[in-house]
Symmetry: C2
Subunit: 213 residues, 2 copies
Amino acid sequence: MREYFDLELKALNDKLIEMGALVEGAIKNTITIITNGEYDKLETSRMIEEKINKMEREIQNYCLNLLLLQSPVAGDLRTVSAALKMITDLERIGDQAIDIAEMSTYLKDCENIYSMTHLSEMAERSSNMVTTAIDAFVKKDLKLAKTVATMDDAIDDLFNKVKQEVIDIINANKELDQQAIDVLLIAKYFEKIGDHAENIGEWVVFSITGKTV
Amino acid sequence: MREYFDLELKALNDKLIEMGALVEGAIKNTITIITNGEYDKLETSRMIEEKINKMEREIQNYCLNLLLLQSPVAGDLRTVSAALKMITDLERIGDQAIDIAEMSTYLKDCENIYSMTHLSEMAERSSNMVTTAIDAFVKKDLKLAKTVATMDDAIDDLFNKVKQEVIDIINANKELDQQAIDVLLIAKYFEKIGDHAENIGEWVVFSITGKTV
């Protein structure tokens, strides 16, 4: 019985790692679109997002079945309930990645606006945060999981920088006002991605220690 | 046994209604702060948010215990899993309400900036959306639950209006640029509140029909 349950927990773990990899792929694809203007990759973004949504439902059902059929306790119960919450954050990151990709099409033909702000650094840092959170989960690394939260301040600071840069752009070039506002909204989405990565880090801490942050 | 389980489901229902009422209170309190500049109510906002977070954890544990101890099936399983997901959306709405309240303090002494945009209408409509979603849950009203999704388009349209108004403000009054950008971010939070209300409507539909939207 126990052996069988261990196999099921391993399967759950594998599914989460797969979903994590998809989410990382979604962000990387979005950054490629923004950085290189490869708008034909939007279709890939949409496909990845669909897969992520499908995996969320699949893992959710898997977790509920585990809860129903196996009545896990203690550490196992923590693992399953952390999984149930973590997939919501992963799915939201997927949503934000596609939202950014879609918004970036409004900025076609004026991609140089990105270089007028700290947006690329925000993108890079929030992507790193997600990778670190998923890594911490994969390796069950408590120290790494706790690191994630410390990475968020830099992103918040960058967001405030972008905010000021956007104001400066609008004041200096009226014809770029719409685009500058879109850059700000994209920056807001990256900030949100950082928040969700932080949540994932917290769920990893919870699944290891049983303590909510 | 069945009778006892019905009592537990009723208790879950009552807890959700209580959490819903707190979330509605959080939004109303935020709107009062914005509309009347009653910044002393910020403390109330913080207290409500803490209660909402506590209730999320409480209901989550309650649901997990129900799943573990009672192994519900069919409609009951749907009710419990919908509850588990719904509380995440309710908690996020609570977060957004407090985020808006905190941001509004940056706009102290220039509240007339709100009247230069469609922000109040956005606030009113997203608050209505949340009330409708919670109402649909309380009354188990499928038709009402489906109505929620139809309310979101108007909010998206209003967001685009606010976006343009913010650009106009920045172009016309340079000294209001920071504040105008804050209005835009507040509008974004109200838009997100609408999205979460839509999710709650979808969970109500799922708990009644078993179909995900």
